[in-house]
Symmetry: C2
Subunit: 407 residues, 2 copies
């Protein structure tokens, strides 16, 4: 697997665009398009929130029932959630407009929105935006970057990644972009994510690969415990790489899954580290848990704890908070068996063992917690399962951003 530059335009046959449409704010890109020159198999995973935004309901229909997908239209600024019938009509009009301009069927168009809940999208601006997108789309790296920038809300960096693998002598490319910074919580991902690939694969296996992979990637991140109404992750596969179509779980399928896992993990970590107000990526790895599910629950409980997050922000080696968050996770264990370590790229330090604090230097521990990527390693001494979860610290800026997000 080779990591390459680029994002959604890295794979053959994909174009993208990002434009200013003044959906909510002036002078910033706020609409994006992803387009494939040929029809794609599509797979998707969507929010588990009972309150689903209109585009989520639209996309669930399209992914389930359309023969193929060929375009995605995204806007930021307004989420098109809690918008009733008018909100769903807005999705239909967007798809109609894009279909007409691109010469494809409306049910081959996915739509996605992110931003404030409860406002209606100004439909005229949205449709004018679709026109600009259709005119300006291109298959360049720059066009992919413009799209990645256009879907940002409170994100501070645009997020994209791409890799290549070889399947039977053919080069297959997988690329993706995502946005997500607040309202980020496992189950599922609370974000918009778009992955494009030129691989030839059956729709069923594409969906299975995606559904399996999110469990240990996007569903293992949390910024603030709030599962959004708009979470959407879709993969489009147009088959242009010319590999023998994958229709069974063969070696090629495993190679593709590995590539997809790299894309998903990278995007998920980018989101966690760019959490609203974050100054650090806060990773928790649980090893030797009794079961995989226990390991997931334990690691997510730690990265989801406000008190742990605040301790990371304050570089405060207040290990009791980490132990406490493991303790209320719902998983049963003997606290005396657990070992806690703080880690950064250079160093691992034992903090807690045999039921009491280890003999560590507060100063050294605080230095580790001041790293841009901080890891808490938890050894449960109970079994062989492990899991990793990613979050970020809790800073003044998180509160600032969310106390007046709309103003």
């Amino acid at each position: 697997m080779n990591i390459i530059e680029g994002g959604v335009t890295a794979a053959q046959g994909f174009e993208a665009a990002g434009v200013e449409a003044a959906i909510k704010y002036q002078n910033r890109k706020d609409m994006a398009m992803v387009y494939s020159r040929t029809p794609c198999k599509a797979a998707g995973v969507f929010t588990s929130n009972v309150v689903k935004a209109a585009p989520v309901r639209w996309d669930q229909e399209v992914v389930a029932h359309s023969a193929y997908v060929q375009a995605v239209v995204v806007n930021s600024g307004i989420a098109n959630a809690a918008t009733g019938r008018q909100g769903y009509d807005c999705c239909r009009q967007t798809a109609d407009k894009a279909a007409q301009l691109l010469g494809i069927s409306p049910d081959a168009v996915l739509v996605a929105s992110t931003g404030v809940i409860g406002n209606q999208i100004p439909i005229d601006r949205l449709l004018a935006g679709v026109e600009k997108l259709a005119e300006s789309k291109a298959d360049t790296k720059e066009a992919g970057t413009m799209a990645a920038e256009a879907i940002m809300t409170t994100d501070t960096i645009s997020k994209q990644v791409a890799v290549q693998i070889e399947l039977d002598g053919k080069t297959v490319t997988v690329g993706g972009m995502c946005k997500g910074s607040g309202m980020i919580h496992p189950n599922m991902c609370t974000m918009l994510g778009f992955v494009t690939t030129d691989i030839a694969i059956s729709k069923e296996l594409l969906q299975e690969a995606l559904s399996e992979d999110v469990v240990d990637t996007f569903n293992m991140i949390s910024v603030d415990g709030d599962t959004s109404t708009n979470d959407t992750l879709v993969v489009l596969a147009n088959g242009m790489a010319g590999n023998p179509e994958i229709t069974s779980k063969n070696e090629d399928y495993e190679k593709f899954k590995e590539a997809l896992h790299y894309i998903d993990t990278t995007l998920a970590k980018l989101m966690a580290g760019d959490g609203e107000g974050a100054t650090a990526l806060f990773e928790t790895k649980v090893i030797h848990a009794a079961s995989k599910e226990d390991a997931r629950i334990l690691s997510r409980s730690v990265i989801g704890s406000n008190l742990c997050k605040a301790a990371i922000y304050g570089h405060d080696a207040n290990f009791g908070r980490f132990l406490c968050a493991l303790g209320y996770s719902g998983v049963q264990f003997n606290p005396e068996q657990v070992e806690l370590y703080f880690e950064n790229a250079e160093k691992r330090m034992l903090i807690y063992k045999d039921g009491v604090a280890a003999d560590y230097s507060e100063e050294e521990a605080s230095k580790i917690l001041a790293s841009p990527e901080v890891r808490v390693l938890v050894d449960m001494h109970m079994g062989e399962a492990e899991a990793t979860a990613w979050g970020c610290d809790l800073s003044y800026d998180y509160v600032k951003i969310n106390a007046d997000y709309r103003s």
Copy 2:
């Protein structure tokens, strides 16, 4: 039921004290004692966290197996959690010392601690503190207040309340105090709470009344989603009111439950409103839910959401966040049926109905959210059940307090 001044010394035969023992900090009261001149029936509820502080394990033993309880010794500053065998020995020595000074049995002494996790308590200072407590205890209102002040950590106000009821011509008094500001989350209460009463009641019914009542009081508050290692709520009943002992669920039992409910609700709301960094008490009442459990889950999901809490802090009528928090709670419902209102003491305003925003004034809504007590009323239109949960807003100061709590 009459609400009266006072706290743990309001009921007949109870004494209290609060002294400076320099457990962790100088120049502040940090040890408290509650003492009854006669033996008490005791009931208790304790943290559900797997990681239980030493005093929690001690008290669980005492409440389950001791014939009676006559004293409680509390320290703030250090939680005596994650302290291994040494921590448990510390409880035993505290009980021995108090028993010797008070002329009672060591297994009639409860202990409780709150503060930082993972440090050992300096035993010499703790035992010296017990001596000061035993010398200075008194049955005055002032002594009760001193005790309520001594158990505070990041609390900004001391918390006590008392009521009186008449049972068969006898005046029965119930009083209580608690502390709790951070690490506050349902299941259970994440706090220290002590209720004293001179009622005569069987131990079984005292425990049953307490266990039932916490479900809709202490377990319905949340400051930060972190369930502490030290949560303890105990009720001591010494029988000195001279009422006919309650041994069945008669009318007197119901009157006592009502009094206990008032005490618990008042203390729980005081804790929620005094959440770390809080500028407002944030209440969510869910009505017409399909079941009581649904109503509890829905209301707790809203007051537990960082995004809702930040919206309250910012006085931002961003109603989508409240709807979103209902949606990811795990309860199934039709978002188009739900109505959302913002309320304060003077006004109720419809915000969301029929799947879309109601026609409300942002300015007026923002004014409501700027009140010291803000209520979000949620009408599910599904059944007859209701529940109320209490939390607080999320402010810069929460982060500040928790980023350097120990320094």
